[in-house]
């Protein structure tokens, strides 16, 4: 549950920010009649993400044994790669994304292209939606309860939707900079766990035979089949007897990616102070 909650809350708030920027800007330039096109784009993006998720789920149900293990293993590694890239991309783009989206709205309206507005919302939200789907699918293969996993996901989206409403009406300031930093670190921990689990899946698929010695065995303390063991396995990639390659990959990823992330400049810091915010929505964005 915590896995899906963290993923959907973080990704959902990114989606909420994008939608809020689009709607906030249309409201500001007195073009609220185009809200409908934005929502069409958002709905299409959500449908695409759901369709991809359903496709992955159906494909995995059709597979068995080594092929299924390979499918899950490669999906986990791919999800980690996409997520890592997106974390860095979002940090780099955070201070400029608001003006970029506003510019694209202006461009679409000046051309009289209403469909371009829907397409703009579709592409911006769709990217986040696909990322969410991929990460949720990769994490779902090692979760212990379907109901709790779905509940966590829905709860995360509900939190994100509430944050979106607050941002749109500007009724309260949300500490977005802290939220994005903490959630990015939490996602990196989840990703490191997925990396370790992905390696094990590839071993189960007989694509990797020897992952090295297993320096310790904590099965007697926290059994991997116990509730606590499954919980830690999903969140932290806990393995009671991890192989050396899993340990090296887990800690190597965390140290390298976290260090690089903290040192990675956002576009705003490279170009000096963030631009003066206009309207409640961009204020929220420049706080990242």
């Amino acid at each position: 549950m915590l896995f899906s909650l963290l993923v959907t809350a973080r990704e959902g708030i990114e989606i909420a920010l994008i939608v809020t920027i689009l709607l906030g800007y249309l409201r500001r330039i007195d073009q609220k009649r185009h809200f409908r096109e934005i929502w069409y784009g958002v709905a299409a993006a959500a449908a695409l993400a759901l369709a991809v998720g359903a496709g992955l789920e159906i494909a995995s149900r059709e597979l068995d044994g080594r092929v299924l293990a390979a499918f899950e293993g490669f999906t986990m590694l791919f999800a980690v790669a996409v997520l890592t890239w997106m974390l860095f991309w979002m940090k780099r783009q955070s201070s400029g994304i608001s003006s970029a989206l506003r510019h694209q709205i202006d461009s679409a309206l000046s051309r009289g292209s209403i469909a371009a507005l829907a397409l703009l919302a579709f592409s911006a939200v769709g990217r986040e939606g696909l990322e969410t789907t991929l990460f949720l699918f990769a994490g779902s293969t090692s979760q212990s309860s379907d109901v709790a996993f779905v509940f966590g996901g829905v709860l995360g989206f509900a939190v994100a939707a509430a944050a979106g409403v607050v941002l749109y009406y500007g009724s309260a300031r949300i500490p977005l900079r802290q939220f994005f930093l903490i959630s990015a670190i939490a996602l990196m921990v989840l990703a490191a766990g997925l990396l370790s689990n992905g390696l094990r899946e590839l071993q189960e698929a007989a694509l990797l035979r020897d992952l090295g010695p297993r320096p310790w065995d904590t099965e007697s303390l926290i059994a991997i089949t116990s509730r606590a063991g499954k919980f830690l396995h999903t969140i932290l990639g806990y393995d009671s007897a991890p192989a050396l390659a899993q340990i090296a990959l887990y800690w190597g990823y965390l140290v390298v990616v976290l260090t690089a992330y903290l040192a990675w400049p956002s576009r705003g810091t490279r170009q000096g102070p963030a631009p003066q915010a206009a309207e409640p929505v961009p204020v929220a964005v420049t706080e990242r």
Binding site: A69, A206, R209, R214, I222, T225
Partner: protein, 119 residues
């Protein structure tokens, strides 16, 4: 703050550990995995009976045990030269079921589960 986090995590793990089953398994079944497959080839249980399966992997690579068809037993991966335990609840309907011993890249075998009526 870190102390608070550690305490909260420990409390959560204790709570999770406390969420055990109702009464626990009635018997322990020992399963051994070798390069030739799993033994025993067959186990018997009453409908709905909870068993503790203790799986020893005597091969030099990982091995898996999981339920098939109507036998619900979540995959347990046993590292080389290790022993793992998990509870298995026999199906409520009498009949023949199976547990699959899966050896990635090697010999996979089945353990037949004969389920009799309730005790």
């Amino acid at each position: 703050m870190p102390l608070l986090l550690v305490a909260a995590t420990a409390a959560l793990l204790l709570a999770l550990a406390a969420c055990g089953g109702d009464g626990g398994p009635s018997r322990e079944i020992k399963i051994t995995q070798t390069d030739q497959g799993c033994t025993p080839a067959e186990i018997t249980a009453y409908a709905g009976e909870e068993l503790k399966l203790t799986i020893s992997n005597e091969t030099g690579h990982i091995y898996e045990l999981e339920g098939e068809g109507g036998a619900h037993f979540e995959e347990v991966v046993v590292p080389e030269d290790k022993t793992r335990s998990a509870n298995f609840t026999a199906p409520d309907e009498p009949g023949e079921y199976s547990l699959k011993c899966y050896d990635p890249g090697g010999v996979s075998s089945e353990i037949k589960v004969r389920v009799a009526g309730p005790s």
